[in-house]
Symmetry: C2
Subunit: 399 residues, 2 copies
Amino acid sequence: MLSISSRGQQMPPSPIRKLVPYAEAARKRGTKVYHLNIGQPDIETPPAILDAVRHADIKVLEYSHSAGNESYRKKLVEYYKRVGITVSHDQIIITTGGSEAIMFGFLTCLNPGDEVIIPEPFYANYNGFACSAGVTVVPITSRIENGFALPDISEFEKAITPKTKGIVICNPNNPTGYLYSRAEMEALKNICLKYNLYLFSDEAYREFCYDGEYVSALHLEGMDEHVLLMDTISKRYSACGARLGALVTKNKSVYDAAMKFAQARLSPPGLAQIMGEAAVDLPEDYFRAPKAEYLARRDLLVKRLNAMKGVYCPNPGGAFYAIARLPIDDSDKFCQWLLESFSYKNQTVMLAPATGFYGTPGLGKNEVRLAYVLNLDSINAAMDCLEKALEEYQGEGSR
Amino acid sequence: MLSISSRGQQMPPSPIRKLVPYAEAARKRGTKVYHLNIGQPDIETPPAILDAVRHADIKVLEYSHSAGNESYRKKLVEYYKRVGITVSHDQIIITTGGSEAIMFGFLTCLNPGDEVIIPEPFYANYNGFACSAGVTVVPITSRIENGFALPDISEFEKAITPKTKGIVICNPNNPTGYLYSRAEMEALKNICLKYNLYLFSDEAYREFCYDGEYVSALHLEGMDEHVLLMDTISKRYSACGARLGALVTKNKSVYDAAMKFAQARLSPPGLAQIMGEAAVDLPEDYFRAPKAEYLARRDLLVKRLNAMKGVYCPNPGGAFYAIARLPIDDSDKFCQWLLESFSYKNQTVMLAPATGFYGTPGLGKNEVRLAYVLNLDSINAAMDCLEKALEEYQGEGSR
């Protein structure tokens, strides 16, 4: 018998997508499903950046430079300057989505068997990239009681072993929406300097910070050698399908090594780079409208959730996710039940069980992640469904 | 000190791109450089497939299915049928270029420390993907004397160890242009069945077969569990920058495991999928013109090379590459010299030293790879340069 590799076996299936067949079945039954389970915004991709592709004069769609078109990298230098990050174009590698930036970072800095510490709950696909690279994820727990703030530095220190090579953060955070404070970022800096660790910083949601200050890992002084910024245009410009990201680092050895992985795959997507370049020239106030929209959605979602009996949802400071504690015993079962056995006015809601975002088994069983990527009316309708569902589910003895 | 990972250190730099700074310097001196060093065709990307993107009605550029849009996969089923391959859409995973298909294949089927046998000279980036996946490449040598035919099966058997898990072929071949015969493909089948090996088959150039029959790995009966087809639209439609490929396998366990890697990176590029889907609807005779053009170029290139004193170039049956033996002692030095110290009528030619395509150290030192991706006039001018260069280089005592 031909066998699948160990990593092919161990590779975790996407926890967000495993409920998809139940959602499809619900839709086939004629039930409308509100998708709060996945970070696919309904915000329009700016027409101007799609027009840039439409009007591009392309005779031969050639490979770009393996680091991405120089013209795009130079545009990104302007963009980063606006968010207070000073980099040069030869400190940027354009990647196929933020995903590839994470993968290049892990492959470049970490050996098989090395460990990275990640505050949980965390973006589930970090598990997949770690598995691909043979890296061990060591979770330390952030807690809903304090809004998923950074765990105390003593928790990091307890988790550090000789194999620990880095810390991975997502700021503002997916799945919690938590925005790390300057004090928390400084604490991360101190521990990275003390223990000589890389700081892998996923900042896909930086444009969407509602309360408090956005502090990038690249704002931290004295950390130039330690930081790998993992970025993407997916959420910023609602262009998830473009698959365009960036790995940014001032560590020249890391950059040069990452470039070898970039060369092996030849180049990032060409048409998407035209979009990305045009995006930097969007009007300065472009982000005002989507940010105001997300803020209104957050306020509504959090208010509706906290008004439900037995539900608690901390107010997330950024991104477009929230984690809520529900009066349920098993979020996987509950989310499946919502799709399989429940409807209200012929509608239901799809949520992501939080279990998939924790590395520690057993955590997240009474929590769900909600992505507020639908308009206010849909959020209200989805919350009506959830409210009724919780009443009904409890009435059924939590099954 | 923060350190780079072992694989980051061992990762080979691109052998094709390492001469780029010398080419840039030549261009800055005002010397025209004919680029026969890289497989970037000058053939126009079919306007109809770019128009499909231009006219696509996109409000939100969303993530596609992780396996790629179902509509595109269903179109590809039609395409594969035309080339005699019967597959269903749920045996296809759309990837970011052929590169990602290779990477998914290696990650899914091979453990770190496992070995794959590859006839050399081979596509140099297989080294990069193997290094990323911790896999060992075991080269067996094909020889210019018989046009780089498949090495004798006894050579494969000598190379097989308990760690051997697969064979990688590229057919028609990059860098040799060799087109494997039915008998050779059957021989590969027999050895895969006998030793229970995967057959990773890179068929990026299938449309460009000039002499003899194209036999896909998926044409081989009884090999459904063994074959992973790695494909791309890059060369087929001269759309290298689209970054759109496919992994095709009838082995359900492999497919399901590969899908987990696909889910982790969310989706392949969205705009490129629109191109790929439109490409299947190009007129049936679309390939006639580019194929005739490549054939004319091949004939000219091979004729010109073999007319040069001390040069031998076997006639490649497919793709758009040829390897020539030159009267030189060190192809790396010679290719650099062409850019650094030589010009004829203020022109020179950039070639790829064949050393980068061999796994066995010392091989390829008197061979270069030529990509016939330029028009006939340019090929003639480039061959004029090479002819003069060889006279001059030998006159200088081969330095």
